[in-house]
Amino acid sequence: MKTFKRYFRILLLLPIVTSCLKDEPFKLSYEGFQPVSGTDDGWTISTPEDEQMDRTVIDEAYRLVYDDSRFTMARSLLIIRNGKLVAEAYPHDKSDMDRIANIQSMTKSFTSILTGIALKQHILDSVNQTFYSIYPEWFTDNPEKKDITVKQALTMTTGIDFNNSEDTQTLYQTSGNSVEFVLSQPRIYDPGIVFHYHDGSPHLVSAAIQKRCGTTFSEFANQNLFKPLGITDWKWEAAQDGITFGAFSLYLKPRDCAKFGQLLLQNGRWNGQTVVDSNWIAEATQPLVNTHISGAPYGYFFWIHPAYHGFAADGHGGQKILVVPDKNLVIVYTAWGYTSGDFFDNFNELADLILKSCH
């Protein structure tokens, strides 16, 4: 009995003696927001003072991003004003600056701009063109959806009940025809009426352009968007049938996301050349349909922010490219793209501070 008691005491002590694993901070220690200079990516570096911004307020925004209990999975925050990179920081890892990462649904806004380019090049006839006119063979089992147009897809009003929480994974993994999979989902609304956000509609668009242009949609993007912007390091995933995903899985560096925002701010012109028609940008970034999500209206795969007089590409993880033409401002926030919504945090708090810093 005596031995047992001694043994039992040791047993009780062991868990106490054996140390527990310890939490470590999510982020690096804050060292300011001075952009890295000396890169050859085409960005001109500037300072808040030179671009009429309040340094202390910007600092407040960056400290928020570096707070260990806020924006927990943040990867980058970049501020561009007057076409110059004023502030940037990479709270998780400094090498995130040179690393491509999944921008998730921000991809949809790239698909929107590429649609504008495809229309300008007459690859697509018009936004009112039906998908049936482009790939009729994929409607064999779903003839009732022959009337869905490109515009309805761009505004998420196809009426198709594609459920992201289940169907996105199937779209990603299906070994069959990915467009037929999207079209096989039930229709719950008449097209053109009700906003229903999902990953199926952008896939119909990317498939249409890919079908018409004779190359993959990602290669079309490379030739007509990435190369003109000097974006060389990118990846864009495709379904198993080879159709590039129009809704997600574009991998870019944060600074290249900023180039996309700046291109929109410059009405589609880059280094003196027109990359995308300014009329398309104006059309795509105006409120075209009301949504049930945060009350924000939607354009052609762009979220509209009336309070900021701006528009944004939004992606899972709370990622955002916010363009505010009135302030000649682009804000890029990237984060780990796979986090649950509970950990996205409130980007508006950052945006409010950064906008407040603009004189």
Binding site: S249, Y338, S340
Partner: protein, 262 residues
Amino acid sequence: MKFRILILTILPLLLTGPGGVAQEADSSSRVLHFGSLQFGLNQIKEENLHPKVSTGTCMDLTYGFEIRKKNWQKFHLTLGYSRLKTELEELSKSLNVKINLSYSTGFKLTRGTKFNYYLGPEATLAYNFSFLPNWDDSHLYWADYLSIGVKNSFLVKLKNKNALVTDLSIPLFSVFSRPELYRLYKIDDTDAGGIISNLNSNISAAHLTNVFFLHFQTEWRFPVFKTKTQAFTYSLDWVRVKHNDGNPYNQLTNQIGLKLFL
């Protein structure tokens, strides 16, 4: 350093061996099948994802057998399951599953009747995977290894057929599998075939800096009937698996349980 560890480990085996001087006939030699149920606290830190610790209760179910003749052979298969959360989460949505297979032979190195020490090789195959949907809703995280190491077993015979048995295992050579640090694809294949394929992908040979674990278990064995024995157990497992191009996976488990010899 590694060479020294190797020598210190293998030398006793060479000196004693199966026919070594320390071996003696053991009147209790037989095959003992057992099942055990253990509960405790599991902590994992998957630094490929984030540096916070996920903690939760865990349950392990084990079947095994041991053959104690001149030497000691042990085999066990353990299935473990736990739900976990970090301090930032309200609900334990993360889960960790482990499947461990282990086979060891211990050579008796002592002459005593009350205290016996066994040392020998142990092969361990461990599948350990986690799904942490709040932090990554698209990918699995795993730290699998096949390891050859040493197992130390101490047997102390007490009065009234009671006994204390303590095991301590450490690895020497391993191959292991970890997911890539940067997975440039959106979603892991979560079909059964995809999971199995993932768990056996990206296999690398390991140094002790890549795979290290410490498995410590002590148990108090006591008879319940004339022919039956059972035991209270305490175990501590620490596992660290790190690919050279990635961040470490750490796991610490403290468990108590009941072992029934069949």
